[in-house]
Symmetry: D3
Subunit: 141 residues, 6 copies
């Protein structure tokens, strides 16, 4: 077959462990407990988060790579893992200041941390797994 | 950055254990055995089904949530798990009456059970995993 | 180091899908429902069972093998998987006749199916995983 | 075969999400940081803990059960999960008061919470998985 | 509801174990080592590859199937697994001749092996998992 | 309770990707193919190996640790992963010289690499997972 230009998606998985709680500072303790239940526990709880970063692009003819995963790994490490791992998402993470620490908002924050640093390929999806029973996906829309 | 309205996808995973068999009542036993093989075993077989329900929407500014997962969990429990778990899909499940008990048809049936009960967000995908080697996805098309 | 004779354990994982129910024929329906709950559902339910067979022995100096896994695979296939896969454990499985179809009893039955066929090594453990939340181990005691 | 009395092991898996940190109150901040690294982060971090509780006993001839898993589930829920889930292990958990919040010590604490409540079977092992890369096992020795 | 014609996606997972290395024959050893690092190891390295083949179509009213998974399994086995399993991807695989052995290129090669053999349904995605930390997806674009 | 001295087991999981083949240089090609089948493929094949290193000891009263996992990680990295990862086990690994590259022998080799470097705790088990269907355990016997 002729050498059609092809588009593929490559995903790198990383993980981090962090504490957070869900509470809205504009609400009473009672309202927070009613809406967020045990996730509002005053003294925090935490998770092992699995992060999947998916990038879209064309394989380079010289390397066969959409992106060098060693490069992607460094971007994720420096912009995301170093900022979130073994941290308190509500207190320690600059890009979450003033936002609810829901996985939805964390996923959007991670997108914004990574997207400006990609070259010759596009960020396609941030998938953030909070527990074995739930995860969020953000496609930049 | 200005507060762009964003669209995200959140997935809740549940599971149920059920018996079924694959057979077409309009066919002979021989034809059923030929087409469905050991899946046609007269006395049933069964699976641990993993169910992934994905919902699409915008995070609520007050909660950070697309949907409260506690609410989604109750919908899935009442409309799907209570109906399918520890049941015989061919004999015990009203929404499968008169249909082949293939995972394709079970996935469509689960979509129809959940879709009318979502509020302020849309059902995006039903993913139903039958064994570690196969699964079906239905996007409502 | 001098060539000490060493003892190692090797495990082969297989799986099968089967239907069963828990009920004691000496009891009333009510008593069965009370003790076994939804596991007593008259029309059966089922599982994807994961089976881990562990064998103990000394590596053969010519092959490096405790047992040739291709041989172990055939034993498990013929004595266990062919008998249990896509079957009803209560109705279709000779070695479970007259026994409660609990995973405890299935594990002991599997031990008895495999143990006589091993040569130059010993059966060490049958581990049978019924759901992602429970499993049984039997060491022949 | 004659009905030999057999001994088996059954395991129930549960999980909880909690915050903790590693620090020794008798040490300086510097010493804590040196020994515990990022695990000493002042504002906590957290994990999804997977807990495997293994019990040893003989199947009951009437039920085929070593222990009714519904009973074991309730014991684990009330004595362990309700106490640890969505909590801060250092601050909120009575049985960890005055102890380093290492998984070793948490596992021993969980053993002590469950062991007195088992009847007709013995507690065999507490396995506590902290991340996908490390876990602890305690056999009561 | 009236019998709307529905479109679903079904996925079959298979796996193979193979050796490969990353190196560009037009480059010096130094350049290969610089770009590909340990993946350029002269004497090869290898992986357990997980392959997910997703097919799109409409359930057949007689069988409930988009495609008979037994048929899909045979296609994957003959066209992909028999060619790649326990092989050296650089040396032994005809469809990889003259191409960099990156997972991007392997995924495209697998697409081309399977796509011509599907009947009444379309190939939707080839997902190839190389390690627990990275995978590629190709949708035929 | 009084501070009983307790014994626990802690496990660290690491992984490496390597090529190998099974062949006995004292045998003909035919005999190798007959005994080892596709594992004897001349041009190698490979795996993602998961390695579980289990250590036994008493928690230190000051740290709560049996062993500092950061220390154990460095030992495993330097003595095992650096030697095996992205290597050819038959050609590149000093401790496998002259031995069949079976997982049994690799596991014993890993034990010998780690055991002399542990302090205040004992090596208990090397578990080496070659595929999702088989693994070996070695307890130093």
């Amino acid at each position: 077959m002729s050498e059609k230009v092809r588009k593929l998606y490559i995903t790198r998985k990383e993980h981090f462990n962090a504490a957070h709680k869900l509470y809205n500072p504009n609400w009473s303790v009672e309202q927070n407990n009613e809406v967020f239940g045990k996730c509002a526990n005053e003294n925090w709880h935490g998770h092992n988060f699995d992060l999947f970063v998916t990038v879209k692009g064309q394989p380079d003819p010289e390397t066969g790579f959409i992106i060098d995963l060693k490069v992607l790994k460094v971007i994720i490490q420096e912009k995301v893992i170093d900022v979130l791992d073994h941290r308190n998402i509500n207190l320690d993470v600059p890009f979450m200041k003033g936002k609810m620490a829901s996985i939805e908002n964390i996923a959007v924050g991670i997108w914004n941390q990574i997207e400006p640093h990609l070259d010759k390929c596009e960020l396609h999806c941030i998938k953030l797994v909070e527990t074995r029973n739930n995860y969020v996906e953000y496609f930049g829309e």
